[in-house]
């Protein structure tokens, strides 16, 4: 079943793809990328619209496992403006 999180995670990127990440004190190795997509913000709906910095959120849905753990599907989100990574969903 899917769980929705918003936890910050630390992610290592190799060859433009997430390779490892650390969440709640555990380290996970990415086995493969299942899906990748990006979204942009609806700048025109903001109180003071600013179209100069369109920004981008990049989503990686990956199959990963903690060392010695069962593999699961994790959705990692990267915000191009802040540079922050978030674990947005998890299926187990």
């Amino acid at each position: 079943m899917a769980h929705v999180f918003g936890d910050p995670v630390e992610v290592r990127v190799t060859d433009g793809r997430p390779d490892r990440f650390a969440w709640r004190g555990r380290r996970y190795a990415v086995r493969r990328v299942l899906e990748h997509w990006v979204t942009t913000r609806d700048w025109w709906r903001e109180r003071e619209p600013d179209a100069d910095e369109p920004g981008e959120r990049e989503y990686w849905r990956v199959e990963a496992a903690a060392s010695g753990g069962e593999p699961g599907v994790y959705e990692l989100r990267h915000d191009s403006v802040t540079g922050a990574w978030t674990l947005s969903r998890l299926w187990d």
């Binding site: 997509w37 979204t39 609806d42 025109w44 179209a51």
Partner: protein
Amino acid sequence: MHLHVASAYSMRYGAASPKALAVRAAELGMRTLALTDRDGLYGAVRHVRACAEAGIGPVLGADLALSPGGAERVVVLAVGKAGWGSLCRLVTAAHAAGERGGAWITAGTVAERPAGLVVLLGPASDVGRAVAERDRGRAVALLDAWRATGAEVVVEIVNHHGRGDGPRAARMLALAREAGVPAVLGNGVRYLDGADHPVAQVLDVARKLVPLHRRHLDDQTGHAYLKPEEEMRRSAALACGEDAADDLVRATKRLAERCVLDPERDLGMGRAHLPGTGPEPHGRLLARCLQGLRGRGLEHRDGYEARLAHELDIIGRKGFASYFLTVADAAALIRDLGIRCAIRGSGAGSLVNFLLGIGDLDPLRHDLVMERFLADSRPGLPDIDLDVESARRLEAYEALFARFGTDATACVSMMETYRARSAIRDVGGAMGLPPQEIDAIAKAFPHIRARQIRAALTDLPELRRSNLNNAQLNVIFKIAERLDGLPRHIALHPCGVILSNATLRDRTPVERSAAGFPMSQFDKDDVEAMGLLKLDVIGVRMQSSLAHAVTEIERTTGERLDLEAVPRDDGPTFEMIRDARTLGCFQIESPGQRELVAKLLPRTVGDLVVDISLFRPGPVGSDMVNPFLDARHGRRPAVFPHPDLEPVLRESQGVVVWHEQVLRVLDVMTGCGLSDAEGMRRRMSSEEGLATVGTWFRERAHARGYDGPTVERVWRTLAAFGAFGFCKAHAAAFALPTYQSAWLKRHHTAAFYAGVLSHDPGMYPKRVILDDARHFGVPILPLDVNRSAVLWRVEDGGIRVALTEVRGIAEAEVERIVARRPYASLGDFWRRAHASRPTVERLVLAGGFDALYRDTPVGRRDLLCRVGALDRASSVRPSAGLVDGQLPLGDDLAMPEPGMLEDVPLGELPPMAPSEIVEAELDVLGLDVSRHVIAFYGDLLRALGAVRARDLPDRGKGEEVLVAGVKVATQTPAVRSGQRVIFATLDDATGPVDLTFFESVQDRCAATVFGSWLLLARGRVHKPGFRAASLTASECWDLAVLDEAWRAGGIDAVRRLMAASGPSGGGRMGRPIGRRMTYSSGFAVSPYADVGHAGPQIRRPPAGRLWHASQGSSGPTDP
């Protein structure tokens, strides 16, 4: 490597220019770049040239819809010459299939001529949609249908990183592999960088006329930019895996290399594609010229045969004989229709054109040279421009199409691009602003470029005082600026016609113009680059005005006037010109020109040539006018830089005025010959070229023995003249209609006004011309349904208002009204003329029925009520009006049908007051026919002591006065200082008053000048000429506002109001408006010079009440 790229020529879709794309592709190390604009090849020629400059190979194609207005699209690329021809014809067929703006194709269209075509099936194609819907069977069937067309078929893999894009791309690739169809990478490029994404989003919704919302966006992710190869590979790898990505990159490059087109071999650039004129064109051209020489009686005259031989030599070397034969053919065709036709521009300098009857100006008599028009040093086809009557221009086009064949002809198009107002409209709409608000904001700006928007907000006083400087609007302005210069829609070029041969449809795609003419997707520069002959057939309103005047003279007097045969030295005509009474005349009616003719005092057509040439930014900017005038009037001797140059510069008193003189000066000082001189002159238009030519000139002139100071002096003059000068042939061609219009004004005054009022050729609103007619003693006869015609007519020495002046009247209504008269009554008119109710009401209000009820006490108000009753009666009984005699709708208004007008007995409504009548006339006709509108302000103006235009010349120079009037023109032309100076003209019923507002007073005046229709202004009298007087304005007010104060509180209230808006002071006083651009000659130009003014148009009075016709309202008072 990109094969699917939309530039800004994909209207309201792409955001980058072809040039920017080509430069970026080269920077990214790409060897090829495709341009595949939506619905056409609008940017193709620019792309080819940009690629050549960037050193990469051009690929061309088009992105075409698969149903009218549908979302499914394919890209079709061209391979080789055959492919280019097929592509042109495919695009033409796509436009022929749909409504205008709704081009579409099917596989069947491609199958009609598949040679050299490659169809790219991407995610937006029918195949791509089927794959997205996981409908494998349909995808395979559709793919087979494309393969059956005979064109090459390739699958295009695109990953824009939207949700689901990757898996879809993988399924596309799988389909291609299974079907054995090659696959390549594409990116559906729309802009250069990811940062341009918001612009594309705004374009998406502007195209669809909806506000910004996710669901309306074609581009969700901002990845449709010109990605480097490595990023393309990565996108492919994320979707299809590493190995497939490498294969795709290789396949993409291979296809791109194969599609590279050679501009000369494949596109036919670099040579001319003229109409066939039969064998031996040069021999026939020679024969026609000799015939012309005999016909014009010039056979043994000095110089003519030598000049002819010289011109024919050049034409022979260039191989342009059939070009001249074609143009001669076209000009004869137009004249045979009885359409006035005059040559304009440099072509008037060619004796061959004169002898062939293309033009009517003898170049040797006016000392014009051929090389300015055609020289060995000039690349490409020469330009011949024909001026024809504007009202019959399309008739001329149709004759040309019929003569040369529809497959071999097309009109030239032009791109309307985003400017400040249009960009604000589209972005404002995207951001969901209410339409009225958008309209008000857009109109607050003058007609400037979009990228000047925010600078103008701080530069221009009329905008500084507005409330547009806020954060909410700022985002709109910022995006609007980014739309600057992007093509917005395609339009018919106002004059260019391509005349070619049967291969034309293989060389240019053609679509229909709004008026239904076949129109090339190429603009005038593209057409030239493609080696196509473009004839400019220019509709000139003055030619129509002249033609109408001549017709009216013949209709009223029986005299058939040949304007070309009128003596060109008529004393009274020049006397009128010297008095600057030239409103309505060609070229010499503007305030600046009226000032110049009053100073220059022309006595011959040659003087008019000089006058027209001097009234240009160049001579004004380089201060050539005053030395010329001083020498002309003997105040100082003419100074020649060197005695050798005296013959060249004598006519213009030592001043270099014309391109022709530059050629001759260069030739005299260097001995280079006129052809090379023309080449040098052309190079002098760029700063860089100017330096090169300068070095060359100095070396050659020194070598020929001219001393250093002389050479420097001459070069300074030439350099200052720069690119601004004027082609004398052009001025000479213009001087003729100038003289002809003035001659008509002087000798056939009423017919002249009938012509000018019918065709509106000038810069002023018609009501100014009307008032000028009053001053020339021509009675203005009111609108009359039994007498007014389609156009203005001469009647008993007066002029009768035309029916077409009635606002909103339909052409068919006018025709019916004229065809079915006379009318005995309003009821009779209603029954037989079948005009719409608003039209009839306007005819009533403007007095069109007054003559029918002159002897009965029926006012316009009564008649207006009657229109309502007639309308109600005919809508109650649908058969009304069809069967004569059955209707009680009385012709006799004194006995209305009982029960119809029961509430309003006739004759009891008060008649309209004179002020109301003028108000109605202004509303319906835009003209104050019965009396001048300023008449209603007479008391106030007398109380203020305002000076009338007629009395202004009697006031002392520098005296401070008040003037008032209706604003009839505002201009911000380029002036010597580089200031933005506002010139305004007021009309106060005694003539025009010209006002000058310098930058120092614009803080407090600009908004009022641009925003008000009636103005009162204070200023000092300026006397530039012998008789002319104008005003250097310091303050101005809206006269309607002052009038209101006057009615409420008398003259004291008015004075208080005037004092209150006095000098605003503040640090901005005298601050320059915008940053000037300075040329090397010292000539500076304001960035706001020569742009249309802010606010509404002033050709018609503003809607709404102009004054308060309340109880206290005084009637008109005589000035």
